[in-house]
Symmetry: C2
């Protein structure tokens, strides 16, 4: 199994920019990547490549996996590296763990897709020739591309793999379900807390 993880370092997670500074969003993204890499390692995968979508020496130093730089569009980045038995995993899944990934790798099908919120494809396992197409509702597009190529599509149904992080609501899921992940610890370090009113709320403690 080959695992590809595309990673955007520069000004990531802009939908969180009302709540986190650019520097904080960059750190958050790095911690999420480290959590995903831990899950991949716990699942016993050795052949992992992180594809940096911008040149970034500082992150290369903290990773002990293969790193490549490719600043093109995500579709080109992935399609040029697709071979059979390749999994593509997005880098912002801090609720992922090795057990979930092991089940994902065992799931049958020519193409296995794990949905994310808002129509995304959070994880994809490719066992036959295929072309990805992110953006514009990739999950539905990937299903129809695969079917048009006569491939057998399986859906990998996971709440935890489905929690990619784009909005404050998503940060709440990290603190609820993965408080001890690197991402969860970082969020607490910079003041994020859960307040248990009737429904759990996310707050940020502002220092006086």
């Amino acid at each position: 199994m080959n695992v590809l993880i595309p990673f955007k370092l520069v000004n990531p997670k802009s939908r969180l920019s009302l709540f986190l500074s650019r520097e904080e969003r960059e750190k958050l993204s790095q911690f999420m990547l480290l959590d995903v890499l831990k899950a991949v390692s716990d699942a016993g995968v050795e052949n992992v490549r992180v594809i940096l979508q911008s040149n970034a020496e500082k992150i290369e130093k903290i990773l002990d996996v293969d790193v490549e730089v490719d600043e093109r569009d995500l579709d080109d980045v992935i399609n040029d590296r697709l071979s059979r038995n390749t999994a593509v995993i997005v880098s912002d899944l801090p609720l992922l763990n090795g057990e979930i990934l092991r089940k994902f790798f065992e799931k049958k099908g020519d193409i296995v897709l794990a949905p994310g919120r808002r129509g995304g494809t959070n994880m994809m396992l490719i066992r036959k020739e295929f072309r990805v197409s992110y953006h514009y509702g990739s999950f539905m597009k990937h299903i129809s591309i695969a079917r048009s190529m006569g491939l057998k599509v399986s859906i990998f149904d996971s709440f935890f793999a489905g929690c990619d992080i784009d909005t404050p609501d998503d940060l709440l899921e990290v603190l609820l379900h993965s408080p001890e992940s690197k991402t969860g610890k970082y969020l607490r370090e910079i003041g994020f807390r859960i307040v248990l009113s009737k429904n759990p709320c996310l707050v940020r403690v502002i220092k006086a």
Copy 2:
């Protein structure tokens, strides 16, 4: 297997009240309940009870399962009806289907919990004596209650069972993944559409 489905008819889904009238939210809730009942039926369960949390003759007429009325707090409603081999399923899971439910019923554990967004417990399977406690982050509370009682807890990890409907973002998931459900058809009937900009957006067509 006994299935309990609590259902609130009066002024439901208040977090959607900017986008849907009260009458529309009531209809939406009824269609979601019908989608959940279809999934339960497709999973081969015969012993199903809907517990109405307010007196509502009009909904009793459209359901062909056992209906009871109990206007107390949700915890009392459920705890008074818990017996071994009981599943409690919330009524706003239009992405659920029979195949997911069959896997859920087969999952081992004294207590099986399916998380919802925002710390909720969307489905719960109870095989030993237990007391539920909804509100204030029920998923974490149910885990700790079960552990304090020495029960074996399993987590049922499902994206589709995790999509309970509270916000416009959640409505988007219905149109993306279950457009042919009763809920999806109703949302389209009252003007909701997906617009595929770079990320899929939910819009409502306003008639001139």
